[in-house]
Amino acid sequence: MTFDTPDGPVHAVTDVDLTIEKGTTVGLVGESGCGKSTLGRAILRLLPENARISGTVRFDGIDLSSRSPKEMRDLRGRNIAMIFQDPMTRLNPLMRIRDHFIETIQAHDPNVRPEAAVKRALKVLADVRVPADRMNMYPHELSGGMRQRIMIALCLLFKPALLIADEPTTALDVILEAQILQLLQSIMHEYDMAVLLITHNLGLVAEFADRVAVMYAGRIAEEGATVPLFREPYHPYTQGLLRSVIDLDTTKLYSVPGAPPSLLGESVGCPFYPRCEKRMAVCEAVFPEIRLVGEDHRRVACHLY
């Protein structure tokens, strides 16, 4: 997926092949600017006008790129839902919470009457543990945690098969984060949703994701089942990431030296080349295709394997 900019094409996401099984959680990790949020939005076709998408997104067997805008619109919120990073700005300040729900329900089921819609909304609110009296309030009257729950509730209205969570707790404090995550987990079980968890927080991924995909410079560096990947990372970048994580035993802080490359224009070779400890001559010249490594069929894009 590429953005057309006045300075040239920016390749935000390249050659990503990702599968999310029903009812499972796939974590998408990487540093800022690696393309993970863009990928999340690309699934829902929520990108700005200057975005060029190529490739297919298959949902439940159907290719989404063949869907008309109208069909796509209906899909959003009904079959695939998305929760965003910053809850403070994601609700319309001029609309009551109740109206947000009525609007969303009627957008997909126009024949539902407001009273019925409110009833449905209250059920969902109960699931996210938001008191019913919040319905008549305006967003600015509510705390961040409350707003995030409401956002989640709005997503759950139609029991979507896929939930894309873009940094759902990054803007929240640690206590709230724990609450929201607990909530998400119970919902995932109850609703049997597949979740794409986009985050830069490895701890989250370790705890909640069944599989993990590590992104770097718009491409997938490594992808596989969570536990084996964390226990034994193959790609040098993943290794670097995991080494950077601090725990109680850490005495020295480690970080991967250097900075991510610019996504502007064409590039050759492995994008991680300048920062890789284990780089070889071939890495600079040829891009490493994804290959299957090990018994657990880990996918890695690295010449080492």
Binding site: D86, N92, M151
Partner: protein, 341 residues
């Protein structure tokens, strides 16, 4: 709207109460300014030709030689009793001049505001949604030019084209002299003719109002176009708009209910500020179209140092300003729930 109407009411009451001290300050300030400034009404009228003794006598009669504090209290008392003296220039009671003229300016102001906002907000929204495309560009250039048109010149051109060359619209005054004036309910001919069922009179009053309103309205719309455009662009890119789209809300609702509504909130706020511009413009427009309103009156008064008239005009203006800012604040509080708390 549980809860909000109570706080809204409290808000309004507070603001109304604040009107009084604000007005007092304004009045005192005007009084001092006038007394400090060189020149006085009598000399202004008679110039150097007058007989100094006669001038002196008239001044004495008007109380211009009384100690300052006496003049001040006479003045204040006059304001509160509604007797603001007699205009030195026109010899009519000031209060009557105001009563005669205020409705005219009110009509002009309101209709100009309607023209400016409908045209300005409409075009601004149009431009905002087509950002950086040729139509946006063209609209912005138009807005830049519109705001810079000399109002009186524009009025003259409209007069020439629509009044004289095409003959479609009348070019001066408020009402055709051939028709009978409507009975006075509000003093505004458009309203009064409607209320008394005089449709022909109504059409005539409206016709007289069109060109002046267009003059002021189009010039002012330049301002609205810019403000609206910027806010629409910003609003379209905001987070809650993205979130609404992600929930599958149809684009049309996203635009009107989410983006546009929020974009208009700051625009409405600025509407209040534009009344000051309207008033300035009204002075010029009323002159060009011989529309006898307060704008014209204020100008006469200041030029001739007509103290009672000026003071009356200031009272009028002060009250108007305060009332308008109050109205705008109320509208704001109504439109934006965040303000009420």
């Amino acid at each position: 709207m549980a809860g909000s109407s109570a706080s809204l009411r409290a808000y309004v009451i507070t603001r109304v109460l604040l009107m009084v001290p604000m007005l007092l300050i304004l009045l005192t300030f005007t009084f001092l300014l006038l007394r400090v400034a060189p020149g006085d009404p009598v000399s202004a009228i008679y110039g150097e030709k007058g007989n100094p003794q006669v001038i002196d006598q008239i001044k004495r009669e008007l109380g211009l030689y009384d100690p300052l504090y006496v003049q001040y209290f006479t003045y204040l008392r006059g304001v509160f009793t509604g007797n603001m003296g007699t205009s030195i220039v026109s010899s009519k009671p000031v209060i009557q001049e105001i009563q005669d003229r205020m409705p005219a300016t009110l009509e002009l102001t309101i209709s100009s505001m309607i023209v400016a906002s409908v045209f300005g907000i409409g075009l601004g929204t149009f431009a905002g949604t087509r950002r950086d495309r040729p139509t946006d560009f063209g609209t912005r250039i138009f807005a830049s030019m519109a705001y810079n048109i000399p109002i009186f010149w524009f009025g003259l051109i409209l007069k020439l084209i629509f009044g004289l060359w095409l003959g479609w619209l009348p070019v001066s005054g408020r009402f055709s002299p051939r028709l009978n004036l409507p009975p006075r309910f509000t003093g505004m001919y458009t309203v009064d003719t409607l209320l008394s069922g005089d449709l022909r009179g109504f059409a005539d009053a409206v016709a007289h109002l069109i060109l002046p309103s267009l003059t002021l309205g189009i010039v002012l719309s330049g301002f609205f176009i810019r403000i609206t455009r910027v806010n629409v662009i910003q609003s379209m890119g905001s987070d809650f708009v993205e979130a609404a789209r992600a929930r599958g809300i149809p684009e049309r609702s996203v635009f009107f209910r989410h983006a546009l509504k929020n974009a208009l909130v700051p625009v409405i706020t600025t509407m209040g500020l534009t009344f000051a511009l309207l008033f300035s413009g009204a002075i010029l427009t009323e002159t060009v179209f011989s529309f006898e309103g307060m704008g014209r009156f204020v100008f006469y008064a200041i030029s001739y140092r007509d103290y009672p008239a000026i003071q009356g005009a200031v009272v009028y203006y002060g009250i108007l300003m305060v009332v308008i800012s109050l109205l705008i604040d109320i509208v704001n509080a109504f439109v934006d729930p965040r303000i009420r708390y």
